[in-house]
Symmetry: D3
Subunit: 225 residues, 6 copies
C-alpha cells in the first residue's frame, strides 16, 4: 500500500489535476490525503461554501482532507510554506506526491509546485499534474482512469461554485483532456503527469505464473550469422 499525497493551491485544483489517479489509488488500496493550501478566498463562492464543496469532493474520492493556512493569490514558496507541506508529507509518510506543474500562469500554482518539490526533496516520487492555467505541459507518465473518470467528474461537480462561476473549470474540457491523454498513453482515458522524480517500484509487483515467452530463460535462439 502506498500513502499518496496530493497538494493543491485552491479547492478544486487537485480534482482537476489528478482526481482520477487518486480514485485509482483508492481502488488499488492506497491511502490518499489531499492538502489544500488556501480556502480559495478570491474565487467565486464564499470560503465556507468552498470548504463544504471540498469536503464533499474529498469524500467522493475517499480521501482524507487537510487544509493549509495560506491565502489565495498570496502563496509564496518560502520556508514557511515548504515546512507546512513537509509536515504533512512526514505525517502521512507519503510515498507518492502529486502537485501542480511548475510552468503555470497562476502565481499560486507556481509557488505550490516549487514549495512542494522542496518539501518532498527526500521522497522517491513527485508527479506534476496539469491545471487549466498550466503554460507548457509535455507529459510522459500516465495513469489509466477509464474506470475512474466518472468519479473524478463527480468529485469535480461538488465544486458547484467553480463549475458554475469560473470559465476555467469546465467538465467538458476535463473529459476531453482525459481522452486526449488516453490516446497518448494508448489507452482510453488517462491522466497525464510530468515526473520530477519517479522511482518505479518493481518489487511491489507480485510474480505471476511464467510462460508467456516461448523460449525459456537461459535458452537462447542462435544468432543469424
Amino acid at each position: 500500500m502506498y500513502s499518496v499525497l496530493a497538494v493543491g493551491a485552491h479547492p478544486d485544483d487537485i480534482e482537476l489535476g489528478c482526481g482520477g489517479a487518486l480514485a485509482a489509488h483508492r481502488a488499488a488500496g492506497d491511502a490518499v490525503t489531499m492538502l489544500v493550501l488556501t480556502g480559495g478566498q478570491n474565487g467565486p463562492g464564499s470560503v465556507a461554501e468552498r470548504a463544504q464543496e471540498q469536503e464533499e469532493a474529498a469524500a467522493q474520492l475517499g480521501a482524507v482532507l487537510l487544509w493549509g493556512h495560506a491565502v489565495d493569490c498570496a502563496i509564496t514558496a518560502d520556508a514557511g510554506t515548504v515546512s507546512s507541506v513537509e509536515q504533512v508529507i512526514e505525517a502521512v509518510a507519503a510515498d507518492v506526491v502529486y502537485v501542480h506543474a511548475p510552468e503555470d500562469s497562476h502565481q499560486d500554482h507556481r509557488a505550490v509546485a516549487a514549495a512542494t518539490v522542496s518539501a518532498a526533496r527526500r521522497g522517491p516520487r513527485v508527479l506534476h499534474y496539469q491545471s487549466p492555467s498550466t503554460l507548457a505541459f509535455r507529459p510522459s507518465v500516465y495513469v489509466d482512469v477509464a474506470a475512474h473518470l466518472d468519479r473524478k467528474l463527480a468529485a469535480l461537480a461538488c465544486h458547484r461554485s467553480q463549475v458554475h462561476g469560473s470559465a476555467m473549470v469546465d467538465p467538458e474540457v476535463v473529459a476531453a483532456a482525459a481522452r486526449y491523454f488516453g490516446a497518448q498513453a494508448r489507452i482510453r482515458y488517462a491522466e497525464a503527469f510530468t515526473p520530477a522524480r519517479f522511482v518505479w517500484d518493481l518489487g511491489r509487483i507480485p510474480a505471476a505464473a511464467p510462460g508467456r515467452v516461448a523460449v525459456a530463460p537461459g535458452q537462447s535462439a542462435a544468432p543469424p550469422w
Copy 2:
C-alpha cells in the same frame, strides 16, 4: 507478471544500460527478453566470441536472448528494422520496452532508438536507457538496483572482449553512475531512464492493510479560517 523486452544495438549495450533493471524484473517474477540487433562485428572480439559472451550475460540475467540481423555500424531506422523489432514485441507480448536514448553519438544507437519507438508505438511503456556515448540525458524514472548491481556487473563482465578492449566499457563508470543516479532517486543505487511513454500500472499493486494515516478517509480536519 510483465513481459519485458530490452533492445540494444550491440552485445553489451543492454547490460550497460539496463542490466540492473532487468535483474530487478526477474526478481519480481517478470519475463525478460533481450534483443541484440547486431553481432558487434566492428568492435574488439570476433563475432563468435561476442555471441558467446552475450549468451553468458543473458544467462546471468535470466533472460531469453534473441538476435537481430542488422550489421554493426550500418543499422538504419527503416521499415525493415522497425518490422523486425515489432515482430519480437508481438511475439513476447511486451508490456515494457527498454531501448537506447535517442540523443547518442553512435549512429546505431540513434537508429535503434528510433526504430524501437516506432515498433512499440502501440505499447504502454517505453523507457530509454543511457549508453557511454549518449549525448544528453536528463532522466526522471529510476529503478532501484541496490540488490542487483552485483549481477549487472557480473553480466557485464561476461563481455570480456569489450571490458578489456574498449575504453567505453568501464565497470568503474557503471558503478559510479549507479551511485550517482541513486542519489538522484534518493536511494543507494539506481538505473535511470527517460520515459518516451510510461503508463503506471496502479492496479498491479496489491492493497495492504490500511492505517498509516491517522485521520480516516471521509473524515476531514477543520479548515483554519
Copy 3:
C-alpha cells in the same frame, strides 16, 4: 489571399493534423493545396480505395490535391524528397506550409517533416501539426476551428478504410483534442501547431475604426510619482 500548402505522408494525415485550419483558410478566401506523398500502400485499404477517399476528403475541404511519388514506410528526407516538395511550394507560391511535427514515432512522418522544412527554407511560415504518433508536442500557435470542426470530421470520415481499420484514426480523439487545444487557446475548439518559423503579417489586417482606448495616442496619463 494566402496560398496554403499542407504536406502529409499518407492519406488522412493532413486531415487529422490540420483539416480544421485548412477549412478556416478556405473560409477566409485562401487557396489550399494538399500534397500527399505516398498512396498509403501499407495501411488498411487498397491504394485505389485510399486515393478515392483522399480525393473526397480534399473536395470536402475545397482543396487542390496533389500526390507525391514516395512509398509508404520508405520515405527518406533526401534530396529527391526535398526537391519534390520544393517544386510544389514553388508551383503554388506557398505563403504558409503545414507539415508533420518532427518528433514522431512513424519514420515517414519524421522524414516528411525534415524534408519539408528543407524545402520551405526560404518561406516565412512553417507550422508543424500533430499526428496520433507524435511523441512530444508543446504547441504555441493555434487556429480557431469552432466553425470548421464539422467539416474536418466530415473530411476525416471520407477515409473509411482508416476510420474503420486503424486504431490510430479515431474521430473521438480528434474532437477531444480540438476541445483540449481550444481550452489552451482560450477558445472553444482549436487546432494547435508548433512554429518552425512564423512571420505574423500585420499588414494584412485592415484598419478598423479607432476608439476602444479612452486615452488618445500621444496623450499620456501622468506618472504616479
Copy 4:
C-alpha cells in the same frame, strides 16, 4: 483593428523589445498602449527626465502611455502587480500583449513577465520580447519591421539618459539584432518573439482574388501509381 498592449518594467524596455512591432501595428491601424511599470528610479537619469523621455518615445510610436506604480528593482510577481496589469488589459480590451521574456537576468523583467502572463491568462495572444539582459531566447514568431526600424530607433533615441548612460542600451546592437532576426525570418529586418500563446486570426485576413494555383479546388491531379 487590434488593441495592442506592450508591458515593460522600465522606461525604454518596450522600445528595445518591440518598438518596431508597435510601429507596424499603428501602421496597420491598431491601437497601441504602453504600460511602463516603474519610473526607472535606479538607472541613469532622474525620474522626471525619464518620464519625459518615455512620453516622447510613446509619441514617436503613436502609442498611449500608461504608468504603473511599481518601484525599480523591486517588482514582484504578486497579486498586486498581476491585478494592476490585469486592469489595464481589461481597460484597453487588449487582443495582443507584448511583454519581457521570462528567462532574464534582471529580476524586474522576470517579475513583469510572470505577472503579465498571469494577468493575460484569458487572452488569446501573449508574445515575449527580448531585452539586452535576456538569458535564453529561441524565437519562432517574427514581425517585419523593415518599414519601421527608423521609427523604433527614433523612439529609442528619445531615451537620452539611457542611450548615453547605460552600456546595455546600444542602438547599434538594436539594428544588428533586427538584421539577424530578419535573416531568420527570411526578410530584411524583423523583431522576434517567443509565443506564450498565439491564436492566429485567419478571419481577419480579407479574401482576395483567387487564381494563383493552376489546378482548381476539388479538381485533383491523378496519383502516380
Copy 5:
C-alpha cells in the same frame, strides 16, 4: 591570471559543487574567492561550528572566504541580494563566477542562482554547478579534477557537521559523480557545469611549437573530384 568567484547559499555548497575546479584554478595560478551567503543556521551544527568548518575548507582550497548576510532558508533574489553579490564581483574583479544551478528543489539555491546571474550580468563567464538537490542538470562544460579530487574531498571533510549530520552530503556520491562526469568528458574525473555564458579566452593560451599537422597552412590537399 583569472579572478574566480564561487557563490553558494550555505557552508559546504561551494565545495560540493565546484571544489575541484577551484583547486584547479589555484593550481593554474588563479585567485579564488568564496562567497557564502548564509551561516547555514538551519542545518545540523551551530553557526559557530559551521563558520569554523567553512574557514578550514577555504584554507584547504587556498581561497579567500567572504560571508554574506542572508539567512538560511530565507534568501530572496531581490535587489539587496543582487547588490551584495555584485559588490563582491566588483571588489574582486571577477572574471569567472561559479554558482548553483537554477533548477533546484532548495529555495535558497534557486534564489542565489537568480541573484548571482543578475549580479554578474556584465561579466563574461557564469557557470552553474550541481548540488545534491538540483532537479535537472544537463552539463556541457567540464573541468578536469583528476589531480584535485583529493583536495575537494579534504575540503568537504572539513564540514564535519554536515558529513555526519546530513544525508544529502555524502563523499561517496561526490566521488561517484566525479567519475560519472569524467566519463562524459572523456577524462577520468571531472566537475560538470551548465554555462549561463562562457567566453572562451583563446588569447590566454600561449602558442607552442607548431608541427603536429603534416600539411603546412596555406598548402592544401587537392580535392578528390
Copy 6:
C-alpha cells in the same frame, strides 16, 4: 598549442560559422585544419571555381584545407562519413572540433553534425556553429572575434560565387550576427557556439602575478553574525 579542426558540408560553411574563431585560434598560435566534405556541386558556381575560392579562403585564415569525398545534398551520417571524419581527427590529433549545429533545415548540415559528433566521440571539445539555415540556436559559448572579424569577412569574400549567387550568404548578416552575439557575450563582436562537450583547459592558462584580491588566501573576513 591546440590542433583545431573545423568541419563543414560545403565550401563557405566553415567561414560563415566559425571563420572568426579560426582566425583567433591562429592568432593564439593554434594549428587550424578545415575539412570540407563536398565540392558544393549543387550551388551556384562550378566545382572548380568553388575549390579555388575555398583554397583562397583557407589561405586567408592560415588554415590547412582538406576535402572530403561526399556529394552535395547527398551526405548521410553513415559509417563511411563517420570514418572519413574520424581519420582526419586522428591525423591532425584534433583537440577542438567545430561543426554545424544539429537542428538545421539543410539535410547535409544535419548529416555532417551527426557524423562529426560520432567521429569526435573520444575528444574533449566539440562546438556547434550556426549556419544561415540553422533552425534553433541557443548558444552559451562565445569566442571574441573583434580583432578577427575583418579577416572572417575577407575569407567569406573569397567565395565570390556564393556571395553574389546565394541569398543565404550575406556579409551584412554575418556582421550583424557578430554584433548581436557580441552583446550576448558582453563584448563587441563574437561568434557563438553550442557545446556538445567542452573541457575547459585551466592548466593551459599561465599563472600571472597575484594581488588583485585584497584579502590573502587562507585569511578570511569575519562572518557577520
